[in-house]
Amino acid sequence: METTDLLLLARAQFGLNIAFHILFPTLTIALAWFLFYFRVRYARSGEAGWLATYKLWTKVFAITFAMGVVTGITMSFQFGTNWPGFMLKVGNIAGPLLAYEVLTAFFLEATFLGVMLFGMNRVPAWMHIGATLIVALGTSVSAFWILALNSWMQTPAGHAVADGQIIAGDWLQVIFNPSFPYRLTHMLLASGLTASFVVAGLSAWRLLRAPTDTSALRTLRTGVLVAAVLAPAQVLVGDLHGLNTLEHQPAKIAAMEAIWETGKGVPLLLFAVPNPERRRNDFAIEIPRGASLILKHDPDGELKGLDAFAPDTPPVAPLFFAFRAMVGLGTLMLALAWAGTWATRKGERNERRLPPRWMLWTFAGFTFSGWAATLCGWMVTEIGRQPWLVTGVLRTADAVGPASEASLGASLTAYVVTYAGMLIAYMVVLTHLSGKGAGTVKPLDGPFAKART
């Protein structure tokens, strides 16, 4: 078999695994903070409604977290099985960052998740709130480490060569490499948006079935409000992240914008079909000088085209379309969040308004919009790094393992079948859970019933 085909198969398999995995942490990182908020609201009000809300969303969280754990175990093995060259070449940097993630985050989350899910009647309220907080902190810490590693792969810094190996010269530079602050913020906001749309979407789904459910209306409002604040922040951070990419990975920007030739006053393409054979864009609809204006903040600014980086350039079409899909979805989410904020404002008698049914349907339809946007974003950033695995240090083709076509094919099939089944079951259960609503839960009746703080 051709080595390029084998490489493509290995990449497809790893891409599938990591794309499936990322769905779940993206949701749990921010959903954990929603839980913490619900838990604190219950502690402060003592209201059974907040407890029911908290319980409902811990169930959603538990399923999502479990999916994240089991798909994450797959990732830890696949570094070795699919990309042995990665660890051989940059293991002295990638390994410790992953180890820190396991040590400082994974155990913390997993252990306190047990206390959070099953310990409400077994520990005092303050300890239970503490466990909820620690789970939230743990998920965020894990995002910190994995994004440090990913960012280092994009924009490596702080490494040195000693004894013929690549090692970390300065760990602070490795961790806080040039793209890390932007990528981390961008991802945390993406997680916040994903979770707020899931919360809003599933609440809307419940309201369609039970318009008088005040708990669902309250969580709809929470989700919508958080999204309305985070969405514009994401626009700003996304812009900064783009400028950072232009500085450190200009080839990626050239591919995202389908700029084939270096030039001044480059137009912004709203739509086009990139044609790699003829190195031009067909059916282009463009805003004159738009790209120069956005990226250089100057309508006559010069932008480097793909010609400047050949032959080490990423493929244009996937980046071009994924980027537009992400921005388009983000814009829709922003508009929807603002409209929702207005529609759920308080009425004349200080009661929360119920949005019209069409809007509830829209929110329900947008439940997993954050996932779609996040996946598009990751496709842009990861495919945009090609042909490098670690920019300028290690090529993807040099890291691929010796697994045979048959092994890769068989395992890819097994993964696809398992993932499809898991995803369908996951979505069905989530819809089912939220459709039933939070209901009312009896407040504490365990040994700590009176110890509410």
Binding site: S76, N92, V115
Partner: protein, 330 residues
Amino acid sequence: MALDLPLIFAALMGVSVLLYVVLDGYDLGVGMLMPAADEREQELMVASIGPFWDANETWLVLGVGLLLVAFPRAHGLILGALYLPVVAMLVGLMLRGAAFELRVKAEGWHRELWNWLFWAGSFLASFAQGLMLGRYITGFESGFGYYVFALLVGASLCGGYVLLGAAWLVLRAEGTLQKKALTWARWGLLWVALGVVLVSLATPLVSQTVLGKWFDFPKTLALMLLPLATLAAWISVWRSTGRRDNDESGPEWTPFAGAVAIFVLAFAGLAYSLFPYLVMDRLTVWEAAAHPSALIFVLGGALVVMPFLLAYTVFAYRVFRGKVRAGLYE
């Protein structure tokens, strides 16, 4: 004297793997025992592992993580050679993890389906781990005999996990479920005996190095303490499960402690056989080790974090100590 970092990391990795095997072993074992229990008992069994299984599986991530960090050369070699069993294990772990969470929310035949998948996933993961062990200790040699051997080790490890799971239930359950668990433990114990004997016979046959290590008088006399202690632990579990069966009182933790002792001793024997090799007769811990700068950075973090990690693990087990009750899950 400078720190022997590869040695330290080999020890850390060994401890992680051992902790994984014992901890996830009992919850995998409970998963495999699901079909043998009735509906009410299944709820208790699931509730008994609910708060722990996530964290238990994290030890696997740490074990593999340390292999990755400290011995990148061995990581690629070992996992590459075990490609398909690794995939099978991962699919198994994913199935059971998802099934564990989803079954609680399902009703009717859906629930039955998830129960079945929970069992199947637990079994697949355990069997695949046994296969990996069987392939690993024979240095990934190919040939019909080696594959049969790996299959037998796979079955034995399932038995071992069943033993751990059953002993865990003896500790956490009461009444009829506890009685059943005593019987299950004995079945597991028989498979363990087969597995331990097989591995003990096979490793010296496969490798001259291992043979030389164990049959080197007078060291052999001291080394024989290991199999003797294993035998003693085995007998104590057999007797304690029998005694309790006859309603004679005895500490409920003896079967679990004995089962853990068997695993620890077997692990120690295996570690002695292999050391200093990470891949039998091919790659030593020092040859496979990563650069000291990476190791020292991780070691520093591990030393700071480990005490906390152990403390809150103990804390979690204390919070959920005692007999498990149905409905705890809510």
